[in-house]
Symmetry: C2
Subunit: 429 residues, 2 copies
Amino acid sequence: MASDKRLVLGVAGFGTVGTGLASILEENRDWIIERTGREIVIKTILVRDVSKKRTADLPAGATLTADPQELLNDPDIDVLVELMGGIEAPKELILKALNAKMHVVTANKALLAEEGFELFRAAQENNVGLYYEASVCGGIPIVQTLRESLAGNKVNSLVGILNGTANYILSEMTTNGLDFATALSQAQELGFAEADPTLDIEGFDAAHKLCLLIRLAFGKDYPFAKLPVQGISKVDPMDIEFAREFGYRLKLLGEVRNVDGKLEAGVFPMLVHHTYLIARVGGAYNAVRMEGNAVGPVFLHGLGAGAKPTGSAVLGDIMAVARDCAPNNTGFVAQVPDAAEIMPPQDSESCYYFRVMVPDQPGVLRDLAGAMAKQGISIAQATQKGQDPIGVPIVFMTHEAKASDVQAALDDLQKAGLLLAEPVHYRIL
Amino acid sequence: MASDKRLVLGVAGFGTVGTGLASILEENRDWIIERTGREIVIKTILVRDVSKKRTADLPAGATLTADPQELLNDPDIDVLVELMGGIEAPKELILKALNAKMHVVTANKALLAEEGFELFRAAQENNVGLYYEASVCGGIPIVQTLRESLAGNKVNSLVGILNGTANYILSEMTTNGLDFATALSQAQELGFAEADPTLDIEGFDAAHKLCLLIRLAFGKDYPFAKLPVQGISKVDPMDIEFAREFGYRLKLLGEVRNVDGKLEAGVFPMLVHHTYLIARVGGAYNAVRMEGNAVGPVFLHGLGAGAKPTGSAVLGDIMAVARDCAPNNTGFVAQVPDAAEIMPPQDSESCYYFRVMVPDQPGVLRDLAGAMAKQGISIAQATQKGQDPIGVPIVFMTHEAKASDVQAALDDLQKAGLLLAEPVHYRIL
């Protein structure tokens, strides 16, 4: 099955995931040999500053270097494990490694989503593996599942909680009634959110992952820059509470659907009915639900981040190299996918949740319903809360409506001077 | 990545899964070529009686035969897909195919659980693949996940809803208040249960699957014959209702835990707290929750049976052959695992649910609690229902207790003449 030779790693970056990988390799050393017949060892670790004081011990026998050439020119090294983050530096390093016939394992979703094709092409030209299970949903084996286990399925739809930080914040807002700012600082204190949380809370990290999942599931390129993305930084606890009264949870979801060959995709805060498994995904967990034309719905759930869960995914990829797997990097014969046919976001249809603040006076609900009806939007249920001369919230949920009609209705309402504050609307899954 | 050559299948058995596979191959033909670069075709279908009237069309170009040699001696055929069921006949066929250097894909859990080693050894000797994703949990990619994606993890525990028929019956009893017999006949009418449902309702099918999962997760052999197995045919709706009042659902689970190197395993109806994802698995769905020492908890959910979900799993394996994957049949270097160190079932510890029918008279609860306390069993909560001179149920849940102590306490109660009927007890997950 595999040679008795050791499999030698060069690791670029020794932060959370790198130290997690090193500790799993040590803890599960004998186990990995039982599984693959080979010992997997870290020889060289590339860091920016070798003199920096480190909290984690180096793996036995490993040396630190700040010079990428020490890693790239070492004929002992079989696999480059890229865990640096960023785009330009890792891209250069990975390309050089692939061209030096090294296999590459990476957790870098931003790089793969924004500039992956050049890497996949280089991997193919050199007939080496470019693995990236760790780049989407941490320890959840969604990449191999889409690329191999369920590869015979045409995917009808895929939806996921792809960012643990955002999910943690929304979960805290829901369970403990925190406002966004408080939940964010709590997440930062606990290490669930970074000092600059923009990528996580504005949905860009989830969007990177969604681009990779779209490629794996559909074999098509949906460019990151074209993906509609909305984050959670403006979520008001009031809407979480109203949603809950209707039986829903507010979740930041990445979603893609195949609508007659066109891909309808985006990252949005959405309402999910509490009976759905995905509504039950709490804290820093991630989950993906995909529906294939043969397998039906499949749901995967696990830890989306953290040293050991992500290290586990990195290790799974390294073990595939240890088993001498033939490269199956994109999961398709074509390493550079065709462009996806994109459904224009304004054409996408969904049920919606609306909250508007209006004067507490007779006829307002009628005017609201009229503005909706004018655009062909049908209201499924509505509730008006409290009595306050200054203004009251009216919350309503609609049947399926086109995004462009929703926008037109909101414009009409604004023009009619009926609204006391910016209206809020979310899609319903 | 793969040759342009067609991949040619011989399929043994053309029942539910075989027809499902054929229809996916036809429906997703171009898609499979995009994925693997190869066309996958069924050439020969082995059936018992070629003259039998069939409801499904044969795949284009395929011929029926009742002679295994037509399949085994055909140099065109790359893969034997075994979907016959049973033990002796498929075993003989698979062994011959492996020895003829054909790859084999099978959905036969009973065969692999009871007599798998000979097959894995033959596959290794012939350096061919023996794939079996479809043998556990239908479309859920649990085999590849344990064998590859999460292979770097030592598994601490694994628990699953491994039989859709039993889960459907328990779900109907829970949701619609049916008794067992009614729920079973409903399942039979809907095609969820076979005419002879013994394997499903008595837990043996789940036990076969659990044996396979134990091998994949731990690399150890836990013999099917030694696995404690309890079915659901004696489940009383009263206990489902009491469990629900305490916040639990009754589920037929296969479970294995690593307790200091010993495997504690079995198939039992168990109470699961309603907040657990596994408690939410309804109808004919299956699910597995595993906990690895690196990845933490991972939960997979999907359809556990049916033509297309199971066909999807068969196809995933066939596509691995099409990609010329090196055989990784058991997921370990050793093709025949060592015997598991088995924790004696009487030593296993669990929290328990009890229901006893006792005379409605003073002191009974005290005597009950006394019998439990004598065996060191501590009661966590108790409830006594109704008032009836003939007898009332007392339901209580315990803290962790040893199975042998539970048995001793039940024996004491029986001897004391305190019980008006056979006591009921279930483990709590």
